[in-house]
């Protein structure tokens, strides 16, 4: 009985793996179909749905806007998050605890409430520029991930080096620049990629803040898919999966997903 259990666990894990990854394989296959509706390619393969995607102005424009938004949001989140994480590092002061909680709030509040709140507030104060509104919302959304990722990197920092630099007469900023920043580079890159992908994937907040003139790829894809049923939906999905895959590889390279599962 006890000896059969690991085999059972392996089978179960294989089934769960199939459940988690199978859908992506199906989407890739469906994006290559020659038929005009969502179906497996039973009469050979074609890339025509990818070509159709590039020729579809709304989705192509939304894709470009999504990439720009994700890049701008991640940059701003790292610019705000790096000094914040450094200021909060190892501080046990009461204000630090409260600030840490404040910076994490977007993780605890339903996205749909956040999106609605930002839309209502900006409407009330006459802030109608959709692009900047969306950007601010995405910076707030990604900041918790940046602060958390950088906080973990700072916790692993070699403080003896910093003390040595300070004892040798380095000014605080110089010590930060020459000692802390080089050690922090992988963490910063990981935080940027994390923020980028969280923004790029987001739909819950964006749904409220997009509109004529500005959209994101997930929102446009969602809107397109509610009215259309052609394999272009699958082709766009595959492209989004590729962006996510790139993020997984980058994060794994920089800080290692292994850190999460190494145990004690």
């Amino acid at each position: 009985m006890s000896r059969r259990l690991p085999a059972l666990g392996a089978c179960w894990t294989a089934l769960v793996l199939l459940f988690m990854l199978g859908p992506f394989v199906a989407v890739i296959l469906v994006s290559l179909t020659t038929r005009d509706y969502l179906s497996l390619p039973d009469q050979g393969f074609t890339l025509k749905w990818y070509a159709a995607l590039a020729a579809q102005p709304e989705l192509a424009r939304a894709a470009a806007q999504s990439l720009a938004l994700a890049g701008a949001s991640a940059l701003a989140a790292v610019a705000l998050g790096l000094p914040a994480a450094w200021g909060l590092a190892a501080s046990r002061a009461r204000w630090a605890g409260a600030t840490r909680t404040l910076l994490m709030t977007p993780l605890f509040i339903p996205m749909i409430l956040s999106g609605l709140a930002i839309l209502a507030m900006s409407g009330a104060v006459g802030w109608t520029d959709r692009a900047s509104r969306l950007w601010v919302a995405h910076v707030a959304l990604t900041l918790p991930y940046v602060v958390r990722t950088l906080g973990a990197s700072l916790a692993a920092l070699d403080h003896a080096q910093l003390r040595a630099a300070r004892n040798l007469g380095a000014a605080p900023l110089a010590a930060f620049w020459h000692v802390v920043l080089p050690q922090l580079r992988p963490g910063m890159a990981a935080a940027f990629v994390f923020a980028f992908i969280v923004s790029f994937d987001n739909v819950g907040m964006s749904l409220f803040l997009t509109g004529p003139g500005i959209s994101t790829l997930p929102v446009s894809l969602y809107t397109y898919a509610t009215y259309n049923n052609d394999p272009m939906v699958a082709a766009a999905s595959v492209l989004m999966v590729l962006v996510s895959l790139l993020a997984v590889v980058l994060i794994e390279r920089m800080i290692g997903v292994a850190r999460l599962v190494r145990g004690r």
Binding site: M1, S2, L5, P6, L8, G9, T13, M20, L21, P23, A26, Y37, L38, L40, L80, G81, P83, G87, L88, S91, W95, L102, L103, T105, P110, I112, L113, S114, L116, A117, I118, A120, M121, S122, V139, A140, L143, V147, P172, D201, V203, G204, L207, P218, L221, A225, T226, V233, S237, M240, V241, S244, L245, A247, V248, V257, A258, L260, V261, G263
Partner: protein, 274 residues
Amino acid sequence: MRRPDARAGLVLPAALFMGLLYLLPVLSLLWGSVQTDAGLSLAGYRQFLGEDYAWTLLARTVLLSLAAVLASLALAFPVALYLRRLSVRWRTVLAVLLLSPLLTSVVVRTLAWVILLGQQGVVNAGLQALGLPALALIYNDAGVVIGLVHVYFGYMLLCLLTSVLKVDPAQWLAAANLGAGPWRRWWSVILPQCWPGVAAGAALVFAQCASAYVTPVLLGGTRTKVLATEVYDLAMTYLDWHGAAVAAVVLFGATWLFVSLMSLPARRRARQPA
């Protein structure tokens, strides 16, 4: 560098940004939901919760989320226990494969299930090829739960894995030496030690499922309405901001209630001397 004012200055830009541009709008939405033209009033809530429809939506939201929590728990627990036995290297490979879907958009993953479960979808095409009758897997609650489990499974696995890896191997071996079978060991040794992970995973998955919008719409169709879809419809279709705020706060309240229920046993244990 030890002066607190210097450190506070570094944190200030981020704190101001979050406070003014995020928390303030959220708080003003909460505040606005208890306001009417005549001043402070719970009339919005009385009106919203006075209708049977709201309770139907609330019940459906809670039931769908609970179903997704239980299903992802049932899927993830054996996987976490299996990963515990593997070498760090294999554990990492499998964890990356199982968790990386978390980094793809909810829209993409839900559309994948639309493609798989649709009336002419991949699953039904397969069933037909085998001469079996087609199943109604989409535009009903089953489709929504399948989609929700796929989207939020990773959070459950992450929480369980963290606590399963902390289980004291000595206790496990002691239980085995004293003759406890695998189920008994799971029940008496693993489960009590993993309860924080179970509770955290359940709270996280429940909160995400309860406020999910895209998955219920695309996989549930127009018949499966939930609170999140009602919030969106009220705000964006009917332009009823006050009603939308009230519905959003009810949704938040239900989530918060579940999350606090899940953290109760952990808190009680923390108060007991070890």
